[in-house]
């Protein structure tokens, strides 16, 4: 039986060529990763594999077996605001969301970016997130959220306050 590590747990996969997004959403019930286009163009399905973002709609379970898959459900330590990952906190505090459908993808993309680059320039942020789409148009807020998250993760005191 093929197994794959998802959010720290070994999970059985029906077959190696199962689409990774379908596997996560329908076989495991992890519906945080979304279907937006199915062709790698919108980023709604983004998950992390070994800490780096991957379009799950474009790959199979077999291709990631042996790696560690993290979905949005695996990011926070618990259910309260304080338990959230700093990137999640920053998206809440900048109200970087409308319908929210794109947001799990943007958050995973941002976590991947900040894993690579602790203090990204605005150009790097835009470049990293240009593969994601938010039809509600919350981009200005997303940019602010990434900046806030980077500050939180570096431990800058100023980034923590501000929101009501």
């Amino acid at each position: 039986m093929l197994t794959v590590n998802v959010n720290g747990e070994e999970r059985d996969a029906p077959r190696g060529d199962r689409n990774l997004l379908s596997f996560l959403r329908f076989d495991l019930g992890l519906t945080g990763a979304k279907y937006g286009c199915g062709e790698g163009l919108c980023g709604a399905c983004t998950v992390l594999v070994d800490g780096q973002p991957l379009r799950s709609c474009m790959t199979t379970v077999g291709a990631v077996a042996g790696g560690d898959v993290t979905t949005i459900e695996g990011l926070a330590a618990g259910a309260t605001f304080e338990d959230l990952h700093p990137v999640q906190q920053a998206f809440v505090d900048e109200q970087a969301m409308q319908c929210g459908y794109c947001i799990p993808g943007f958050i995973m993309g941002t976590v991947g970016l900040l894993n690579r680059e602790a203090a990204p320039s605005s150009g790097q942020v835009r470049e990293a997130l240009a593969e994601h789409m938010c039809r509600c148009g919350t981009y200005q807020r997303i940019e602010r959220a990434v900046e806030r998250a980077a500050g939180l993760m570096r431990g800058d005191a100023g980034a923590a306050g501000g929101a009501s």
């Binding site: 937006g36 062709e39 959230l84 109200q95 039809r135």
Partner: protein
């Protein structure tokens, strides 16, 4: 137990006075039943019930803010139930921001009624006169003796109490608001959104549920001559292939088997020939134009043109564009005997309930529609025929069925913003005063009201005739943020820029010269100030443009700065002013303004739906470009409405002037006038 506040769905909404373009977006129901709008439970928490749905406009927090303030409880103590036909008051649907404002008003009245009821109950318990009591932070306390008080939770612990929404309860005036009008960055659903806990229709899964893929025609109007399903039926995981009244669907145990099955069903399609293609549209719109509807008639047009020093005639054209919400439609249907439950991300849960009831010959009470979170709608998710298909298939196979659109299906089988051609002829004096305004607008589609929205001119031309025609529509067309208002405004506001150019006046000054309505003057002046307007040529290589408008009773203006390089327009920044009266939830309104501006940039610069002989040519994101983070400008929004003016919508107005602002700015930067969208196709 609990305290319940009940009322019907059409009680005493205040008339919205906008001074100009007064319109009503009613919320009247044929049913005169009483519904529960608000409860206070014995845990002290309040729950509000509304037939609206959440598709990103932040209505959950917006309504909770109103209830929290009136009921004097912290925002976090308010729970919100939306869009579930078994639990919430009837509602015609979530569109036209006005109706939302009215539901908010109804809830404020319900909460004020509840507050009064709790004070009366406390008067009994504490044996104090009600006049000595006030509600504060989930308690009723004595004004004279702060040590005496009682929690709401305790007050409602006895028998269940029901109260009718009072005719004129003491609703809190804006000067005393403590929750309304404040900045609430953290939405009630914020944590659910960032943890993946928010459930959309795409996410609904039931035990025993089958995945269905409907075999869709390759072109509009195509019909199946013959179908061969043998290969599909033989695939592992496929449970059955249903063929019923033109519906062909593959049902399988998993999504991939259903999709693969649909691909191998062999269909011989009869595609009607001779359907119009995109290049036929301008001619088709004018030639098929029917039912000219006078939107604005005033004075004597001929006399006006005789007074004019200059006459300017221009034609504007806007192609179909796709709403492209991030979440493609999905629906899950489950039968229990003759009871049907459907989860569907529709903007009209009650409308869908009625459709399903009539489709299956059921009483509406046998149909339960639940609208979960909706991943964007923008008006397009009012029709939701996908849910009919899911219910039909579930009935046939006797198991719950899920259908979800692919991106291409969502684009092709949703509805587009109607294409339109608008002719404007204006007469003006050499100092730029309008004396005649004639406009003929041809909007595609059956739903005539779409093209009519925003077709009046706000300028004091004196002699006006504005007609709106209904024209044929080769593509399914329907609602889209602001309906036809963004379209009509594009033509009018580019035309005003052309007049400014013709008489050599600054575009802001030229508009002010022709505007007497103070609310229009104010948004224009305030947008110009927010932006730092300094004429159309802010700096070398940059152009600035401005436009104003009105939608759903809200006045709006946007100024933009652009640069143009190698057939790419970059919008650098936008300064906007919005007068939507009282602002109940400023952060939500700001977010909506920003979003509608970004959405409008797509239609202005690069979006157009292409089609040929009934086939859609750009149904996927590989061929249909929508704004990305790299296209997003800096946006500054200023709210300029009066505190004592009732709230009007904030979700749609932002899109109304933005395309004209951009076209005008591109003209300033390049000297090229763009009367046709999208601009980048014509650079």
């Amino acid at each position: 137990m609990s305290l319940s506040i009940v009322g019907d769905v059409q009680v005493g909404f205040p008339a919205v006075r906008t001074g100009y373009g007064q319109q009503t977006y009613g919320n009247t129901s044929p049913l005169v039943e009483r519904y529960t709008w608000l409860t206070v439970g014995d845990d002290g928490r309040a729950t509000l019930f509304a037939g609206k749905v959440e598709y990103g406009q932040n209505i959950r927090t917006g309504l909770a803010v109103e209830v929290a303030d009136e009921l004097r409880v912290p925002l976090a103590e308010v729970d919100v139930v939306l869009g579930d036909t078994d639990r919430v008051p009837w509602d015609m649907g979530t569109f036209g921001s006005q109706s939302t404002a009215r539901v908010g008003w109804q809830l404020r009245k319900a909460a004020a009624t509840a507050r009064e009821a709790l004070i009366a109950m406390a008067a009994d318990v504490l044996d104090l006169p009600a006049s000595d009591l006030e509600a504060r932070a989930g308690r009723v306390v004595s004004k004279s003796d702060a040590s005496r008080g009682v929690d709401y939770a305790e007050l409602v612990r006895g028998d269940a109490v029901e109260r009718e929404i009072a005719e004129r309860p003491p609703v809190t005036p804006p000067s005393e608001w403590t929750v309304m009008g404040q900045t609430h960055r953290r939405r009630l659903d914020g944590i659910d959104r960032v943890t993946g806990r928010s459930k959309y229709s795409q996410d609904i899964q039931l035990d025993e549920m089958l995945f269905a893929t409907v075999v869709r025609p390759p072109a509009y109007g195509a019909r199946a001559r013959s179908v061969s399903a043998t290969a599909a039926e033989a695939l592992p995981g496929v449970v059955s292939v249903v063929q019923e009244d033109g519906l062909i669907a593959v049902l399988a145990e998993d999504d991939e088997a259903a999709a693969l099955g649909a691909r191998v069903v062999q269909v011989d399609w009869d595609v009607p020939q001779g359907q119009p293609s995109r290049w036929d549209m301008p001619t088709l719109l004018v030639e098929s134009g029917a039912e000219p509807h006078p939107m604005h008639e005033e004075g004597d047009l001929d006399a006006g043109f005789r007074q004019a020093d200059h006459v300017l005639e221009s034609t504007y054209y806007l192609p179909y564009i796709a709403p492209a919400p991030m979440e493609p439609r999905a629906a899950v249907a489950a039968w229990e005997g003759d009871r049907l439950t459907v989860w569907a991300g529709t903007q009209r849960p009650f409308g869908l309930r009625q459709e399903l009831a009539s489709l299956f010959g059921l009483d509406e009470s046998a149909v339960h529609v639940i609208a979960p979170e909706i991943g964007g709608g923008f008006g397009a998710k009012s029709p939701y025929a996908l849910a009919h298909d899911a219910a039909r298939l579930a009935r046939v196979v006797g198991r719950p069925v899920r259908i979800a659109f692919t991106r291409a299906e969502e684009t092709m089988w949703s509805n587009f913003r109607p294409a339109a051609l608008i002719q404007i002829k204006s007469g003006f004096t050499s100092d730029g005063r309008l004396v005649a305004w004639q406009s003929d607008a041809y909007h595609s589609g059956e739903r005539v009201m779409i093209g009519r929205r925003g077709a009046e001119t706000p300028y004091d031309a004196g002699n006006v005739r504005s007609l709106v025609y209904r024209s044929d529509s080769p593509l399914p067309s329907g609602s889209y943020r602001s309906l036809g208002a963004a379209v009509n405004h594009f033509a009018r506001e580019v035309h005003m820029d052309e007049i400014a150019e013709a008489v050599g006046k600054d575009p802001v000054e030229l508009r002010l010269h022709n505007l007497s309505e103070p609310r229009f003057r104010r948004v224009l002046e305030q947008a110009a100030e927010e932006f730092g307007w300094n004429g159309p040529h802010p700096s070398e290589g940059r152009g600035a443009g401005i436009a104003l408008g009105i939608d759903v009773g809200s006045y709006v203006a946007t100024a933009v700065e652009v640069s143009v390089k190698e057939r790419e327009v970059r919008v650098h920044r936008v300064g906007a002013a919005l007068d939507c009266g009282q602002v109940v939830n400023p952060e939500g309104a700001r977010n909506q303004m920003e979003g509608s501006i970004v959405m409008g940039i797509g239609g202005a610069l690069f979006e157009a739906s292409d089609f040929q002989d009934g086939r859609l040519l750009n149904a996927t994101f590989a061929r249909y470009r929508v704004p990305r983070i790299t296209d997003a400008p800096r946006i500054d929004v200023r709210f300029v409405g009066d505190e004592d003016t009732p709230s009007t919508g904030a979700g749609e107005p932002g899109i109304v002037p933005i395309a004209a602002s951009i076209s005008n700015a591109v003209f300033a930067a390049t000297g090229q006038r763009h009367r046709e969208l999208p601009i980048q196709r014509h650079l």
